[in-house]
């Protein structure tokens, strides 16, 4: 504390940044334990169970002993909670047959417990590019099974999604974010189906210039998603802040209707209630005015 630079000591708004413990820099296992109440987390199907993907070695890829996904059950503010954390450093956080089965099964076991009168909420730490292409149709099916399992639990207990970056939540796993009860994002975090590079490859650079980082964050970034009503909390990259936002999100409970059920709202966002010849308008999103280049640089600070 005595080593705080004078600049920071003078500026309260910098102190949160100075004192923070980065969540983004933690691996999936550490993130899961950082979210749960200290010392309460217990991991299932851990690396020593060696339940790996059978599809990687035949392609010359080295498997990870937990297939890049951790399941850690413990307490969150004293209540049972399971954290499912994707390891972004392994194969881009992509979901394969085994990691998908772990996630889907954990959600289904939580739903089973909840139905039996032992409510348990779930937190999904989404650090993922989506389906693991090296596992093709089994990766695709794995995501479909996660979606189904999430819906089994969601009506009984909150399922909170966390996307802090560095990768964010992309590809088929972004649909998981779309089904979550609530989403917690950071400025660094991104949320979207198609990444900029994929859109540029499919549709050309005019459609999406993947070298334009400001553009990417202005479309998919946490602040934008929060401003347009697609996220419930925008927090500093600070583990205690992420944890607190998750606790708050769980405490609100199961809503009457989830975002993915609000079809009138989704249609209205496209600009017109009339479907037959929908006229769309970005004004329907309530977007803030386009930033000037100077302010875009400021927004980058600290991210």
């Amino acid at each position: 504390m005595s080593d705080i630079p004078a600049l920071v000591a003078e500026r309260p708004e910098l102190q949160a940044l100075w004192h923070r413990h980065s969540f983004v820099e933690l691996d999936a296992r550490a993130r899961a334990h950082a979210i749960l109440d200290k010392g309460t987390g217990h991991e299932y199907c851990d690396p020593f169970d060696r339940i790996e993907s059978p599809w990687l070695e035949p392609q010359g890829l080295v498997p990870q002993a937990d297939d890049g996904l951790v399941v850690v059950k413990g307490q969150l503010a004293g209540e049972p909670c399971v954290v499912i954390g994707i390891e972004g450093a392994f194969q881009g956080g992509s979901i394969g047959e085994v990691s998908g089965a772990k996630a889907a099964c954990a959600l289904q076991l939580a739903a089973r417990d909840a139905r039996a009168g032992q409510p348990i909420s779930a937190v999904l730490v989404l650090e993922t590019g989506g389906v693991r292409l090296q596992e093709g149709t089994l990766g695709l099916n794995a995501v479909a099974e996660i979606l189904s399992a999430l819906l089994e639990l969601r009506g009984l207990r909150p399922v909170i999604g966390v996307a802090t970056g560095p990768l964010g939540s992309y590809g088929g796993m972004s649909i998981v974010a779309g089904l979550c009860t609530r989403m917690v994002l950071t400025h660094e975090g991104r949320l979207g189906f198609n990444g900029a590079q994929v859109i540029e490859s499919e549709a050309g650079v005019a459609e999406f210039d993947s070298s334009d980082r400001a553009l990417i964050w202005s479309v998919n970034g946490g602040a934008q998603r929060y401003a347009t009503g697609l996220a419930d909390a925008l927090v500093l990259d600070d583990a205690p802040a992420v944890r607190q936002a998750v606790i708050t999100a769980v405490a609100v409970g199961v809503p009457e209707r989830h975002r993915s059920e609000e079809l009138d709202v989704l249609a209205a966002r496209l600009g017109s209630g009339d479907g037959a010849q929908a006229r769309f308008s970005l004004a329907g999103l309530g977007l803030p005015p386009a930033p000037s280049p100077g302010s875009a640089r400021q927004r980058g600070a600290g991210s």
Partner: protein, 105 residues
């Protein structure tokens, strides 16, 4: 992809099993389980072929200084010898009884 199996005589022992790292580009994960038969048996799975000599040198040097008995599984995605040595030190550090449970930062 290549798999290497090596064995070293080992006199030291460890308190418990430990795991470190991730199979990310330039990194590796190590699973360590203590053993009782005075042997350190090592399996390396690595994405990069043809570095047998380098692996041998790194592991020879490590076990010369830290001959801890048990099973070591290294899942490697192109880590440098420096990173490999670091992770090996880390996993043994983590296997000591005094090492606190990781509960996040």
């Amino acid at each position: 992809m290549q798999t290497l199996n090596l064995e070293y005589p080992a006199t030291g022992s460890a308190a418990r099993r430990a795991h470190v790292g991730v199979v990310g580009s330039g990194d590796l994960e190590i699973l360590f389980e203590p053993g009782t038969d005075a042997t350190a048996s090592v399996r390396v799975r690595t994405t990069v072929d043809g570095f047998d000599v380098v692996w041998r040198r790194v592991l020879d040097a490590f076990f010369a200084h830290h001959p801890v008995a048990g099973r070591y599984e290294l899942n490697d995605f192109g880590a440098t010898p420096g990173i490999v040595s670091l992770r090996l030190l880390q996993v043994l550090e983590t296997s000591k009884p005094a090492h606190k449970e990781r509960i996040g930062q």
